[in-house]
């Protein structure tokens, strides 16, 4: 029988928790994006929201969305191919996303209670992800 695994250890270095977390993160992010966009629209109607303050908030949200796509893709790819480079790049993008998330939590024009909840959940997901990525990179390198 031709076994491709002969001569190799059968240990899989890809982190399953990381994969699950990335998957859940993707779904959660779609919900987060739609919810935050809806809330910004709600805030602009109900509160006094001048245009020069609305623009940065929307820009941050869309920038986060743009960052999220490559970040998740690189995370998946790096994890599955057990390569450190994509995973490292994903970690770098995660740092950017964390900064933007903190902005949404602290420096937005109006921070509603719902905003606080959504961003806190996202931040904790990022934190957990970063930890798992670091562990995975360490596993791949060694």
């Amino acid at each position: 029988l031709f076994s491709p695994w002969k001569g190799r250890t059968s240990e899989i270095l890809s982190s399953l928790p990381l994969h699950i977390l990335l998957y859940v993160n993707g779904i959660y992010y779609i919900f987060y994006f739609l919810a935050t966009l809806a809330m910004i629209i709600y805030k602009s109607q109900v509160f006094s929201y001048p245009d020069d303050l609305l623009a940065p908030d929307l820009a941050v949200l869309f920038l986060m969305a743009i960052l999220e796509v490559p970040r998740l893709y690189l995370g998946f790819k790096g994890n599955l191919t057990e390569a450190e480079a994509p995973l490292g790049l994903s970690l770098g993008l995660t740092v950017g996303s964390v900064v933007l998330c903190v902005y949404q939590l602290l420096w937005q024009t109006y921070v509603l209670q719902a905003d606080v909840l959504l961003n806190a959940v996202l931040l904790s997901a990022y934190g957990l992800e970063s930890g798992l990525k670091v562990t995975a990179i360490a596993a791949f390198v060694s």
Binding site: M39, T109, Y110
Partner: protein, 547 residues
């Protein structure tokens, strides 16, 4: 010194800081150093004052209720205690909604915006922004539109609207009038269709007689009025010369310009009065202007003279009749009245015009005017015009002696009450023309005898004691701009028996006359435009060749 001035200016330029502490904020504290009733948060109130309150007008003082958690000051009255006392609690108010504001980085979101203090630098910009009737963010685009309309001057001057200043070559047609004090100011423009008459004082001296412009005729007819595409020159209609003792005489040659000059220590040909007559068409274009002057002489001792100016507007091809409204009567203007000529309605209606408008006192409905002596027989002839909308009552006292004859007395009293020429018709609208006979309402005359009221008929002498004119009017026309229209006029004469007096005795009876205006408008009926109908008609030969 410069620094302190800058500092004070800087202090003045900023408003005091707003109070945001709920425990110190009290909206019902309006009186300074005094207790406001039912204001539980007022620091000027003592415990005895709280005992007199019934309720707290301001129970809670909070910031924006949409905040997730904030401090709230709660005031309440404890009515159980004796005396009632005020309870003040500072609590944390929590908004349970998930969309409550947790934090905000935009300071002005929760507070009213502090207005900009006007300074010398930003005053013009603030005036542009807030000086108009509307505060529009698109103010610049509005300004551009109005600028675009200004250049075509020809369109502007061809049609005048009511009140618009009459434009001349250099500025406006001036009607000098007193402003603030009685001294003449030459800056008053004459408004189109605004009939004005002003009197003012101008300081003069005989030495500067020919150099003061306002005394010369040329000053008033110099500029020509701008109207449509051509200019209307002001012609001299007539010149009247007033002598020093006040008599006026018309000058035959009114086309010669008489300029002021010094003659024998007098300044002659000085303008004492100007009367402008402007003729206009029914579309609002001015077609003629004429000025009638009164010239006089100023003596050496005179330091000032009184000048009078008048302007009147007449529509072309109409009689210059003062209207009491256009078309409905205006409250306060005299009720127009007239007579019917003999042989109405067959002879031409222009006779009506001639008779009705022949003299001033016949044109109006008048009522007896009370005088200070209050004696009916002494004050004959004093009449006051009946003004539309003003109910009036006037009267006099009649002293009856035994020697008075009844019939002449009755006739005299009738004259006193009704006046020399009591009109027969009253104009229905303020601008009713004499030619339109249907626009005039006949005055119904009624006689009521007081004896008939008491039930017994006596054929003894009756004298009129009161005249009551009741004018019934209604609102006519559109709902948004109703016009007053007189519908019915009834003049009721009440007579009473004159009892014979014993000789030597006399009686005083009051004679009254009154005018009452009654509004008999029926409630307005809204009317709607008819629904548009689809008007389809088939052509005659539509079904050719089958039909």
């Amino acid at each position: 010194p410069v620094d302190t001035r800058d500092a004070t200016q800087a202090r003045l330029r900023s408003l005091p800081a707003p109070i945001t502490d709920v425990s110190r904020l009290c909206v019902c504290d309006l009186l300074v150093a005094q207790c406001d009733t039912n204001c539980c948060c007022d620091p000027d109130c003592s415990a005895q004052d709280f005992g007199l309150f019934t309720a707290c007008s301001v129970p809670v003082v909070t910031g924006d209720s949409r905040l997730c958690s904030q401090k709230a000051a709660v005031y309440s009255l404890d009515v159980e205690a004796n005396p009632p006392e005020r309870i003040f609690k500072l609590i944390d108010q929590v908004n349970p909604s998930i969309f409550c504001i947790h934090a905000t980085n935009y300071k002005q979101a929760l507070y009213l915006k502090s207005p900009e203090i006007p300074t010398a630098e930003n005053f013009d910009q603030l005036l542009d922004k807030f000086g108009g009737a509307t505060f529009s963010a698109e103010l610049d685009s509005w300004n551009l539109d109005t600028d675009a309309q200004n250049p075509p001057d020809a369109n502007e001057t061809s049609r005048y609207e009511y009140g618009v200043p009459v434009q001349t070559e250099d500025a406006f047609l001036r009607l000098p009038s007193p402003v603030v004090s009685s001294w003449c100011s030459d800056a008053n423009p004459a408004g189109f269709l605004v009939n004005q008459a002003t009197k003012c004082i101008r300081s003069v001296s005989v030495e500067k007689c020919d150099s003061v412009q306002a005394l010369s005729m040329l000053f008033y007819i110099n500029s020509s009025i701008l109207a449509s595409v051509f200019q209307v020159n002001i012609t001299v209609q007539s010149i009247a010369v007033q002598s020093l003792n006040g008599t006026r005489s018309l000058v035959s040659s009114s086309d010669v310009l008489r300029l002021p000059m010094v003659l024998d220590e007098l300044c002659i040909n000085a303008v004492l009065g100007v009367n402008y007559h402007i003729t206009y068409t029914d579309t609002g274009e001015i077609i003629g202007a004429a000025a009638a002057f009164v010239l006089g002489a100023i003596s050496k001792e005179a330091l000032s003279i009184e000048q009078s100016f008048e302007i009147s507007f007449t529509q072309e091809n109409t009689q210059p009749v003062p209207l009491s409204g256009n078309p409905g009567y205006v409250v306060g203007l005299p009720v127009r009245a007239g007579f019917q000529p003999q042989g109405y309605p067959f002879p031409a209606a222009f006779l009506f015009a001639a008779l009705a408008l022949s003299s001033n006192k016949h044109r109006q409905l008048t009522i007896l005017q009370s005088t200070s002596s209050q004696d009916c027989l002494a004050a004959q002839g004093a009449r006051a015009p009946v003004l539309f909308g003003y109910n009036m009552i006037s009267g006099c006292k009649l002293r009856i002696t035994a020697a008075m004859q009844c019939q002449p007395l009755a006739q005299t009293l009738l004259d006193v009450l009704k006046g020399q020429s009591f009109p027969e018709y009253v104009a229905s609208f303020g601008n009713s023309q004499a030619q339109d006979v249907l626009d005039w309402v006949p005055i119904t005359q009624l006689h009521i005898s007081e004896q008939m009221i008491s039930g017994t008929l006596q054929s003894s002498c009756q004298i009129p004691v009161s005249l009551g004119i009741e004018v019934k009017w209604t609102k006519y026309g559109s709902l948004v701009n109703p016009q007053a229209r007189i519908v019915n006029v009834t003049a009721t004469i009440t007579t009473s028996t004159l009892k014979q007096l014993a000789s030597g005795r006399e009686r005083i009876i009051p004679i009254t006359s009154s005018v009452v205006f009654t509004d008999i408008s029926s409630p307005a009926e809204p009317s709607y435009k008819a629904w548009p109908t689809i008007n389809i008609k088939l052509p005659f030969d539509f079904f050719y060749p089958f039909v």
